[in-house]
Structure formats: C-alpha cells, structure tokens
C-alpha cells in the first residue's frame, strides 16, 4: 500500500481529530512553549522580555517564601491524600453493602463534589468563624473556641478538612463503581476457602481495586499540588504564610507582573509532578 493510499484511508480519522488537535495546539502546546520561554526571561508582559537563562529558577528555589509554600503543599498533599481516599474507600465499602437507599447516599456524597469549590470554601469559612457552628459545638462541652483560620497551627489542617469534604464524594463514587465491577464469584470462592471478612478484603477487594487506587492517587495528588481556590477564599495564604501553597506563590508573582518568575514556578511544579506521577505509575506497574 502506498503512503498516499494509506493516508487516504485514514483521512477521515485525521479530519475528525483535527478540531481537537488544533484546540490542543492553540490552548495548550503554544502556551506551554510561551511559558517555557518566559521562565527564562525577565518579563512583565509590557516591556520586551530580557533573557536571563536559569536565573528565575535559581531565584525561586532559593526564595524562603517559595520553600515555605512548597512545605505547605507537601503537608497539604500528605494530609489530604492520607485521609481523603481512605474515607472514600470506607464510605464506598459501606454503600456497597447497603442495598437500600444506595442511590440516595451516593448522590448525597457526590453533592459537594459538584458544588463550586469557592462556595464550599465560603460555607466552611462560616463554620470555622469565631461564632461559627464548630466553636458552638465545642462550647457545649465547656471548651474554649478556636481561631481555626487565624491560628498558624490549625489553619492548614482546617483547609485540608474542607478539601477532603469536598473531594471524598468523588472518590466514593469511583471506588463504589470499582467495587461493583469485582466479580461476585471471587468472593464466593474465597468463602468456600474459609476466608473471613478481612481476608476477603485483603486478597480479593484490594487487588481488584488496585488500578482504581492508582488512578485516585495520581489524580488526587496532582489536584492537591494545584490547590488554590480554597486557600484564596479561606485564608488568602495566611496567617503568616501558614497556608501559602505553590500555586498561591505562582499567582502572587503573576499579580506582581513577574511573569518570568511565575512561569518558572509553574515549570518547577510540572517537573516535580511529572517525576512523582512516573514513580507512582512505576510502583503500580511493579505490583501488577
């Protein structure tokens, strides 16, 4: 078959993917290339860019505020991904067993995920306020109220709780779908072999969920590293940088018209995430 005939055969396919390909090039590839160039320049969007090599990267990496933002982001990821998926899996296991009202609970759990993060953050900001319901409940037990979002020790965990609440419905639905796709005869066979509830979970459920767990963690970790909206609404990065995250640092630079520094932060984050995602997938691959 000549090249021309092969192309003619595939032309319909090329035609169909052309719009998506064009959109990807225009809205993703070109901005990525432009951003890469900016990261090597001093550029404010108005005056001509001045090439500075890797200076922006060196400045960002040695900047104490970026380092603090990086630490906070890591803490956010560890707390959020340590608790969120576990909660999602737990609620999915409960829903998998509950035959009645499963649809109702599934919808209820998924509702926060469908709600705008800004709305969720605003609601939780009220809950955490001095006169909010959380302090009111604490007060019933005679305990003093806590300045949840104004205290450097509680601000980040408070934002993490909000994020977990907003996101665990998604994890629940994903895990529930995966649980229901595990063939029931596996469990029957395990029962015949005398497996108890824990053994079935350990040797049937968990292996069956492995691709889903990998998916949830890869997506969740990438999302956690990009945390911004709830920080902006609830704490604006404070108090005293306690909730400043990498993306918050990026936007801060952008607002100062430091487009070179902001682009360098974006690429540092991308490289870090790419390496992390690769390692996650390799670990998943080895276990498969």
């Amino acid at each position: 078959m000549t090249l021309r005939r092969r192309f003619r055969g595939a032309s319909a396919g090329y035609l169909l993917i052309a719009p998506a390909l064009a959109a990807t090039v225009i809205f993703l590839v070109i901005p990525m290339v432009v951003s890469a160039w900016w990261s090597l320049t001093h550029y404010n969007g108005i005056k001509p860019a001045e090439f500075v090599g890797l200076q922006n990267y060196l400045d960002v990496l040695s900047n104490a505020r970026f380092q603090k933002a990086f630490e906070n982001t890591i803490a956010f990821v560890i707390l959020g991904m340590g608790i969120g998926p576990a909660l999602g899996l737990g609620s999915a296991l409960l829903l998998d067993r509950a035959l009645r009202l499963r649809g109702l609970f599934r919808s209820a759990f998924f509702l926060p995920t469908m709600t705008s993060l800004v709305v969720v953050a605003t609601i939780w900001k009220f809950l955490y306020s001095d006169a909010g319901i959380i302090n009111a409940v604490i007060g019933i037990f005679g305990l003093p109220g806590v300045n949840w979002l104004s205290d450097t020790t509680t601000a980040l965990p408070a934002v993490v709780v909000t994020s977990i609440w907003q996101g665990f419905g998604f994890e629940t639905v994903v895990f529930l779908a995966a649980l229901q796709s595990i063939p029931r005869n596996y469990y029957e066979a395990a029962s015949i072999d005398g497996a108890g509830r824990w053994a079935k979970f350990r040797w049937v459920t968990l292996p069956g969920l492995r691709p889903t767990i990998l998916f949830v963690y890869v997506i969740g970790i990438i999302g956690s590293f990009q945390t911004y909206d709830q920080i902006f609404v609830m704490t604006n990065g404070g108090p005293i940088q306690a909730t400043r995250t990498i993306v918050f640092d990026l936007v801060d630079r952008f607002n100062r018209l430091d487009l070179g520094g902001a682009s360098a932060v974006a690429y540092i984050l991308v490289v870090f995430l790419a390496v992390l995602s690769y390692l996650q997938l390799r670990i998943g691959e080895e276990r498969d």
Binding site: I30, A36, I46, I222, G238, F254, L273
Partner: protein, 456 residues
C-alpha cells in the same frame, strides 16, 4: 500499555499546569459578571450628537470603549453611563462589572496579554506595581495637565495629587479617596459615660470599659475594638507616632522604627486586655461582627458609612465618627480608587473623555450617594450633599471628619516592590499580634525582607 498510560498521565499533568500558567496570560479574562454593552449607537441619536457639540479637535469616529468596574452593586459608574453616552454619542461603552477580589489578577492578565480594557477602576494600592511596570498611560502627557478644561492641579488636594503621581507624571485620576477615622458606638459610650477617645491611652481605656462578656465566662466577647492586622491600619498608628514606611528616598525600610513598634504594641496591649477583636483580612469586612454586636469601635475609611447603612440598618442612629485617637499627631494612609488607562488600551482618547466625565462634580457626588464612599475632587467635596446631617450617624455629618483626616493622610510609597513590602508588613503584624514574636523582632524581620526587595 503502562508506558502509554504513563506518558498520557505525565503529559496531562504537564499540559494542565503549564497551560494554566501560559494560557492564563495569553487569553483574555472573562469577567465574573459581565453586563451587556449599554449601546448608544451614534447614528441612532442624531439630536444627542448635535447637543454634544464636540470640540473640532475631538475625533468623533464611532468607537466602543471597554470599562472595568469593581464597585459592585452600589457602583456610581453604571448610573452615569446614560449621561455619558448622551454627551458623547459616538462612544459606546462596553461596561463590565467585576469584583474587587479578582480585579487585580484580571487587570494583570489583561495588560500582560494585550487585551486590556480602555478604562478601569483601580485600587490605589495597586498603582505602584502597575506604574512601576509601565502598565499605565501617562495622563499628564495625554491631558496636557487639564481636566474638564481646568488644571488638574487645581482640582485635587495636595495629598491626592501626590497619590496620583508616579515618576513625575499622573498615572491615574483619583475617583474616590480612602482615609481612616474612628467609628464608634456613640450610644454605648454615652451609656457608660466614656468620652470619645482622642489619644492611644484613652482608646485603650475606652476599649476596656466598653468590652463585655455576654456568656458570663468573664472573657469579653462583645463591644470590642477591632484590630486589623494589615498595612492600612498599621500605617495609621505608624504615621500617628511620627514614623514613615520607607526612608526619604524610598531605598530602605523605616517602618521598624520606634513609632512602628509602638504602633504594634498598643494594638497588642488592647488584645491582651481582652478588649480587642483580632480580625484578619481573610475574614472580609466587619459587618458580621458589627451585626452580632461584637464590635463597638473600629478604624476605617468613608466607604464604611455606606456599608453600615446597608449592612447594619438595625444600628441606625447608634454610630458616630471621630478623628482617630493618636499619640503624637493625626495621620492615616491615603488611598481609594483611581481611574486608569492601560498603556495598551485601544481607544485612549475616548477613555480620557470617559474619565473626565466621571470626574465632573455631578458624577463625583454619585460616589457618595450611590456607594457611600468619598469623592476625590475638591469641587465635589464642597457639595452640600456630602456635608448634611446623617440620621444613621445620629445627626452627625460624618463626612466632615474624613475631610479633616484626609488633610493629614499620606499615600503608600510608590515603589515597584510595594506589593511585596505590603505582604511582609502584614505578615509581621500577624506574627506580633498573635504573640509569635515581639513587635521589634517581627518588624525588623519584615524590614530586612523589604530592603532586599527594594534592592532588586
């Protein structure tokens, strides 16, 4: 198979993140709340065009200018559009309402991507960064120093003229001004026999007497003095103590002087007395705390007159305003809203006509009547509308207090690193007021960071 998935996941992560950064700066922002263009096509209004009688030098080619406004529902800009389009029928205004929180980012995206509006309302605290980056049009060159046919210098106070100037040129026209005074619950002070405080010591004593515990726990939780850990409020204490934010040539931090330390210490003392309510900016405005009677005194700008009227109508007649108590001299920061033209704006001449129209006395009074804020031009300040007795403030004319305050207020330094310095100061205030460090240690740390930023 796993290789393909790996590549897909990594590529997706890369694309999402970098695309978000680069894409943000290469595409136009979509305003949060975009109103349809209020159209007044020139051809549709020949009689109005005739009545406008444009000067021969004015280009009357039909144009559409884009105006970004962050005032919100009580904006004085939108109600003025019909009159503007009657006066200048060849100019159509594409009015876009945005919120203050996101305006700075949207404006930054706009000017850096070449898709800026023609006119924007800009917080005066953003001006140093925008002007230092060359984002704003030189209005001195553009106007020839004239505003509505009179010299600009004759139409503003000296403080306002300083605030509008960067590098020897006007880069914005002040539309409303912001300067701080003391709001206090006159009914409570009278009930408890407390005189309106005029010094820091009196302020502390008054706060102590006002504070009450509603739950019987002994810990005061209502009628408190609001402590705001931000540069706006700190600079007031700093200026009142005779301090400055930077040295005379704007090359070194000076806010960590004795005046600065004393300004933080007095606030910390009020907090330690239990008579202060710590209220960071992330909590937004004070209206919920005022409604809940948590706050009986606070320092803020004239725009709070409007916020109180609309947000806490139940406390009408109970509030009054006084010059803020001071230690050595009265003082406040001077800010507000400026009208600016981005250097990349497409229709600068029409934009300048729009700004001039908005600064006519009749539109300036709208700043007070619609937004409850303080108009900036001297002609508007003389309007009887602004100085009449206000029933909400117990028959007081609170605006006069802000006029007095403006006479002794100072704008923030116009340096390119201002945004960073503002952040360093705010964080040092949080550090000191939350008891994580002494005022001196916190301010010294912020000053060293500010020096480094200024040296760049």
């Amino acid at each position: 198979m796993i290789r393909a998935r790996q590549l897909a996941a990594i590529a997706a992560a890369t694309a999402i993140l970098v695309g978000a950064c680069g894409g943000a700066a290469t595409s136009a922002p979509s305003p949060a709340a975009s109103a349809p263009a209020t159209s007044a096509q020139p051809s549709a209004a020949p009689s109005e065009a005739a009545s406008a009688s444009p000067a021969p030098s004015i280009d009357t080619t039909p144009v559409t200018i884009t105006v970004w406004d962050y005032y919100g529902e009580s904006t004085p800009v939108k109600p003025a559009l019909a009159g503007f389009q009657k006066a200048y029928p060849w100019i159509t205004v594409d009015y876009q309402a945005l919120d203050w929180d996101s305006m700075n980012t949207k404006f930054t995206v706009g000017v850096s991507s070449g898709d800026a509006p023609d006119v924007a309302t800009l917080d005066m605290t953003w001006i140093p960064t925008l002007a230092a980056n060359g984002a704003l049009e030189d209005l001195t060159a553009m106007s020839g120093g004239q505003l509505n046919g009179k010299p600009i210098a004759d139409q503003y106070t000296k403080g306002a003229l300083d605030a509008m100037t960067y590098g020897g040129s006007f880069v914005t026209m002040l539309f409303d001004f912001d300067t701080y005074a003391l709001y206090y619950r006159a009914d409570l002070l009278e009930k408890k026999g407390i005189a309106v405080p005029t010094t820091w010591d009196e302020l502390r004593a008054a706060a102590k007497k006002l504070a009450e515990s509603s739950k019987g726990s002994g810990k005061p939780d209502r009628y408190l003095y609001a402590i705001r850990p931000n540069t706006f409020h700190f600079s007031q204490f700093l200026f009142e103590g005779g301090g400055t934010i930077l040295n005379a040539d704007n090359t070194k931090a000076a806010f960590n002087s004795d005046a600065g330390i004393a300004g933080v210490d007095i606030q910390k003392a009020i907090l330690d007395d239990g008579s202060g309510l710590y209220w960071p900016d992330a909590n937004n405005d004070l209206i919920p705390a005022i409604t809940a009677e948590q706050v009986a005194m606070f320092a803020d700008g004239p725009y709070y007159m409007g916020l109180l009227r609309t947000g806490v109508p139940a406390q009408s007649g109970k509030w009054k305003v006084a010059i803020n108590p001071y230690s050595k001299q009265p003082g406040s920061y001077l800010g507000g809203t400026g009208l600016g033209i981005p250097v990349l704006a497409k229709h600068k001449d029409a934009a300048w006509l729009f700004i001039q129209y908005m600064l006519r006395p009749e539109q300036q009074v709208g700043v007070f009547t619609y937004a409850g804020a303080a108009p900036a031009t001297t002609a508007a300040l003389e309007s009887p509308e602004l100085t009449k007795a206000d029933p909400y403030f117990g028959g007081q004319a609170p605006f006069k207090v802000f006029l007095d305050s403006m006479a002794t207020s100072t704008h923030f330094p116009y340096v390119g690193a201002w945004t960073e310095i503002d952040t360093f100061i705010t964080e040092s205030l949080q550090t000191a007021l939350l008891g994580k460090a002494t005022a001196k240690a916190a301010l010294d740390d912020a000053a060293s960071q500010a020096d480094a930023a200024l040296a760049k």
